[in-house]
Amino acid sequence: MPAFSPHPPSPPWGLPGRVGRRLLSVLGTLTAPLTTPLSPDDYLGLVDPLLCARHPAGVVTAVRPETADAATLVIRPGLGWRGGHRAGQFLPVGVELDGVRHWRTYSLTSAADAPGREVTITVKADPRGKVSPHLVHRTPPGTLLRLGPAQGEFVLPAPGATPDRLLFVTAGSGVTPVMGMLRTLVRRPGPGPDVVLLHSAPAPDECLFHAELGHLAHEVPWLRLHLRYTRTAGRITGRDIDLLCPDWRSRETWACGPEGLLDVLREHGEAGRPRAERPAGEHPGGAEGPCVRRLHVERFRLAAPAALPSATPLGPVAANDGAGGRVRFARSGVEVESAASVPLLEAGERAGLPMPYGCRRGICFGCLVPLVSGRVRDLRTGEVRDGDGELIQTCVQSAAGPVVLDR
């Protein structure tokens, strides 16, 4: 399940290509004048896409089914991938479907400091989506995926900075980043911290990592696991959390799941504790539960972007078809309401932003701006689509719900 982080993933283009291996980098510098305006990398990528540094790729080496509609993909990144990740981060993945490359982000579920270069992502097929079902059901080993650098601030602190007592509250595929953290903790030498995991899933056979979690809880003395099957027991409430983990307000907490779950934590955390100081620049949008000791949250992608007031109706924005939406220009921080018929280019200009533009009628592609998240409507055809991470023609696209532009 893709996760939405307070930091929306930037699309992988535009990032400076970093050659993972020194040799390639030196070779590249030496031969660059011969291949200008292309880079030597463009030729290397033709020989073997895994050597390409400007457009890093990885190859799927195995696909392990987790539940009926979820699978773990083992990926061997190529030389060009800027290696390494912190436990809890997500990986931007470019998947080619019928000639079109779609970018999605999935939580990394392999341990952060595992030897070797393979990483895993665990994907739950969203029946309404087109990329996740493809990854889960129709991706044979050998498939090539483009990879972006691991991103996200919903992470496990480094060994020295990890608190003594941790609480993880997850639901559904929200357990995926936490699985990466648990696997990382297990690998760390010495006694582990005191960890409580409260995980909700509809039923045992729909619970991701069901066997491994049970096994861990049995083997690892420092982990307490509470699985809740919501189909029979209902959703977890604040009272449940109090009963299962009485000291939860004093634990540093990582929560990942649907907005309802995060609301439970926020609302129920109002026990009048002093607000914890939030380290500047860290976990923006994170420490929202003023009374929980430090709450890190990771939202699902379909929720409204983090900067919107939480009163904004959440859930699939498809409900807003036919209406305009709130447009946020991420770099300048400007937000405006924009009607369904107003091109995003105009919305930006009305807000006083310098927007790139050209012909203003969809011909010249001079107005392209990366769409960070949201749905846009093609004013020429009326077609509404998701285009996260894509470059869109702002002169012929309007907002169809909340939209965030990288401008």
Binding site: P11, P12, W13, P33, L34, T36, P37, L38, D42, Y43, G45, L46, R54, H55, G94, E96, D98, G99, V100, R101, H102, W103, G358, C359, R361, G362, I363, C364, F365, G366, L368, R380, T381, E390, L391
Partner: protein
């Protein structure tokens, strides 16, 4: 196409190109536009893996030819190596400019969402930097196609291509400098893309002109160093033939690009328009102007690939952002639509369009 229909489409080529006067648009203009919109939607819906494979194959062939050409030219003391190397490098440069550069920079392949093949990231082996060219070409030329006073590509500010442009004595020399332009076409386009005339007209600041000159200069140095210094040096004893091979490839590519591009808008039966024509122009009217302001030429698959499918110039101007690989299938459909509505559709063999283009260059060199 039967000759009767052809005659109907192209009534005897007018003795001089008709330049439109503000006319009432035909009553069926909107309907005609809707038909073209439908055609566009159909292609957009059908774009997929087949098209993606095509462009990736062209990229692979182009880079393979370029690498092969460079290798052969590094031992070009041997005449067969020189010939093979020059031929491969010329073909690579032609493909790179036409089927790849021009079309990718148009955004024709942006739908693939591949940052490696994208109008915003692509840079080409042509002197003018991609950004400068995208502005004058995609924006100015494609929006204001053949509008006298607005489309700078109409004669590239140095040629007189329609009676609306006031005659000056220097135009007497235009057949000469139009011909001289061909072998150095990339330099001509690079200088033209600086839009120095826009500075004197006050549409552009001197500061931004200097910025662009700087970018052009840096690119020019890299381009020239590659073809005229580094590869010849690497070729050791074959330095001179290697340099001559690179020079030949660049010149042939320039002449070919000049030919294809001049045949797209300057043959005799292509119309020009006045600024009054485009006031409040609807989408249907825009389509009509694009069709009447462009000319196709006929040829086989290879000719079309090597010309970046600009032999389908009309289709390109009607749908500049559709993948070039689809223009061949669009051409007969656009043409029959034009026949149905009685819209003139200029096409012919390459040689005839080329001759007609030169006829026009010579005609407007003299007053009238």
């Amino acid at each position: 196409m039967t000759s009767t229909v052809r005659d109907q489409l192209m009534p005897t080529p007018p003795s001089k190109p008709t330049t439109a006067h503000p006319l009432e648009p035909p009553p069926w203009t909107d309907e005609f536009g809707t038909e073209l919109d439908r055609l566009r939607a159909e292609i957009v819906a059908g774009r997929g893996a087949r098209d993606a494979r095509y462009i990736h194959r062209v990229i692979a062939v182009q880079r393979g030819l370029e690498a092969g050409g460079r290798i052969a030219l590094s031992v070009s003391l041997l005449p067969p190596a020189w010939l093979a190397g020059t031929a491969m490098l010329t073909t690579a440069k032609v493909l790179e400019n036409m089927e790849l550069g021009h079309n990718i920079l148009h955004g024709q392949w942006d739908w693939m969402g591949d940052p490696a093949v994208h109008s915003t990231t692509w840079e080409w082996d042509f002197l003018t930097p991609a950004d400068a060219w995208k502005h004058t070409h995609n924006h100015l030329h494609h929006t204001y196609t053949n509008v006298v006073g607005r489309d700078r590509d109409l004669g590239y500010t140095i040629l007189r291509m329609s009676p609306e442009q006031p005659w000056r004595p220097v135009y007497l020399l235009q057949p000469l400098y139009a011909a001289l332009l061909a072998p150095v076409f990339e330099w001509g386009i690079a200088l033209y893309d600086l839009e120095a005339d826009a500075v004197t007209a006050g549409r552009k600041s001197v500061r931004s002109l200097f910025g662009e000159i700087g970018r052009l200069f840096r690119k020019g140095v890299r381009q020239a160093a590659k073809d005229y210094v580094l590869f010849p040096l690497l070729a050791g004893p074959s330095a001179l033939p290697c340099l001559l091979g690179n020079l030949t490839a660049n010149v042939l590519r320039n002449v070919w690009a000049h030919t294809v591009i001049f045949c797209g808008h300057f043959p005799g039966d292509v119309r020009t328009f006045s600024e009054a024509d485009i006031e409040g122009e609807t989408r249907g009217q825009w389509y009509l102007r694009q069709i009447q302001g462009s000319a196709d030429f006929e040829g086989g698959f290879l000719l079309h690939v090597l010309s970046g499918n600009l032999g389908h110039q009309i289709e390109h101007h009607v749908f500049p952002d559709l993948p070039s690989s689809r223009y061949a299938e669009l051409a007969p459909r656009v043409r029959s639509l034009c026949a149905e509505y009685g819209v003139p559709y200029a096409t012919g063999p390459l040689w005839r369009q080329y001759a007609s283009m030169w006829g026009r260059v010579v005609r407007y060199a003299v007053p009238g």
